[in-house]
């Protein structure tokens, strides 16, 4: 038990920042991202033995994270409530729209969610296409085609083109 506790702590300490940032790149606000990752890691801790036994620990954790993320998005849609006054929302800071990071976030915002997820898992979380197929529970060919379409769209994205041109 002690070993699995230490193991969990070590894993979380090492992966927490990149998992939270992955969630932000997927489209969560900072607070949502921390909640999402915390929930995912708690679920993993509940069955940490299974995580330890998994062939690919990162793929396992990402799979849990993506599943919660997607089910949260579905719930959010059906849970929308009409409101007289719009609540303040954290989002991209438009006053710094020239910022590279904002350009990237805007480009990601324009991608369909399955392509955005694929881009983040491949190019930020550094999962292989095989790992992604397991995480997303789709065929390896589907991963390839999503990535290919996403990369094509991003290559034509005006914000990113400007960014590349400026470098």
């Amino acid at each position: 038990m002690g070993m699995s506790r230490d193991d969990f702590s070590e894993y979380v300490a090492a992966r927490w920042p990149s998992l939270v940032r992955s969630a932000v790149l997927l489209g969560c606000t900072h607070a949502e991202a921390e909640d999402l990752v915390q929930t995912a890691l708690e679920r993993c801790l509940m069955k940490w033995g299974r995580v330890q036994a998994a062939d690919d620990r990162d793929a396992y954790v990402h799979r849990v994270l993506i599943n919660i993320f997607l089910s949260g998005r579905r719930r959010r849609w059906t849970g929308e409530q009409p409101t007289a006054t719009l609540p303040e929302q954290a989002g991209s800071d438009h006053t710094t729209s020239i910022d590279d990071a904002d350009a990237v976030m805007r480009a990601l915002d324009r991608l369909p969610s399955d392509q955005r997820t694929a881009v983040v898992l491949r190019y930020y979380a550094h999962l292989s296409e095989q790992q992604m197929a397991s995480v997303l529970d789709v065929a390896a060919g589907t991963v390839k085609s999503r990535l290919s379409r996403a990369v094509k769209t991003l290559a034509q994205d005006p914000d990113l083109a400007e960014l590349r041109g400026s470098r």
Partner: protein, 288 residues
């Protein structure tokens, strides 16, 4: 070409998010809580099954038995049920089932420091943070002095009208511990329950769902609630209160030069314990 650049762009975008340290201890506390809750749920489910079986048999044997009394699993006299990991804490005929592992009155500076049922908070006014992952429920009579139990909703518990104060969460100004709380008041029985959790709001709701009306049992009253001018009740006064509730008393005396003869020093079982009507409470009283 963009593929080679994407990783760099994403990493730069990601770095814009300042990430604090991972709340590992909070995660552990929440998981521990969830595991414990699962165990309790399994035990309660098993207990319900036992009570259903026992109740069914009783009805077969005694067709005239009153069906409206819905015994709480943990309150049952069935030996199988008594081994459940819950115990009842209450006043009068209203009670709440809490895990047996919970303490009683485990507070310091008015603040619970571990999972506990509370009949009386440690009254010292001082500031101490509530640890993360601590659950508690206060049980009292009359108007609560430190909780706002204004009714948000009328509910029914075992056929009795009750008022529910919705669960809300606030972060402490000084220690930033997020604590959720909510309550239930049963006006006809003059009993209220106030649950707090530094885990999450769902815990509060779950605690309050375990309130029951138990007509065949009664809670041992809190002697401190009968204190006048800072002095506890006499054995006679407390024994009279017990009689009113349908409980009996046995008096044990101790010699003490420091206390007034006749004064009540202790009760056993402790205040808040639910006893069958007619059971005996042992009072320790200063010899005259």
């Amino acid at each position: 070409m963009i593929e080679t650049k994407l990783t760099e762009l994403l990493e730069r975008a990601g770095e814009r998010t300042d990430v604090g340290p991972a709340p590992i201890e909070m995660m552990r506390a929440r998981v521990t809580r969830r595991r414990r809750r699962r165990t309790v749920a399994v035990v309660v489910a098993a207990a319900v099954a036992v009570v259903a079986a026992v109740g069914g048999t009783a009805l077969l044997v005694r067709p005239g038995a009153s069906p409206e009394v819905s015994p709480l699993p943990v309150a049952s006299a069935s030996p199988g049920v008594a081994s459940a990991d819950l115990r009842l804490v209450g006043l009068g005929h209203a009670a709440i089932a809490v895990p047996k592992a919970w303490g009683t009155n485990q507070t310091h500076c008015l603040t619970p420091y571990r999972d506990t049922a509370i009949l009386r908070r440690d009254p010292h006014l001082c500031a101490t943070p509530r640890p993360l992952g601590v659950e508690s429920v206060d049980v009292g009579r009359g108007r609560p002095t430190i909780f706002d139990l204004t009714a948000d909703e009328i509910i029914e518990i075992d056929g009795v009208r009750a008022e529910r104060r919705h669960t809300t969460c606030v972060s402490g100004n000084v220690h930033q511990v997020r604590t959720c709380s909510g309550g239930v008041r049963i006006p006809s029985l003059d009993v209220w329950f106030w649950a707090e959790s530094s885990t999450n709001a769902e815990e509060v709701d779950r605690i309050l769902e375990r309130i029951r009306i138990v007509p065949d049992q009664v809670g041992v009253p809190d002697p401190y609630s009968m204190a006048t001018n800072g002095e506890g009740p006499t054995g006679d006064t407390y024994a009279a209160a017990l009689r009113k509730l349908g409980l009996k008393s046995t008096i044990r005396t101790i010699k003490s030069p420091s206390y007034t003869p006749g004064q009540l020093m202790a009760v056993s079982p402790v205040a808040g314990t639910m006893l069958p009507v007619g059971a005996t409470v042992i009072l320790t009283v200063v010899a005259r």
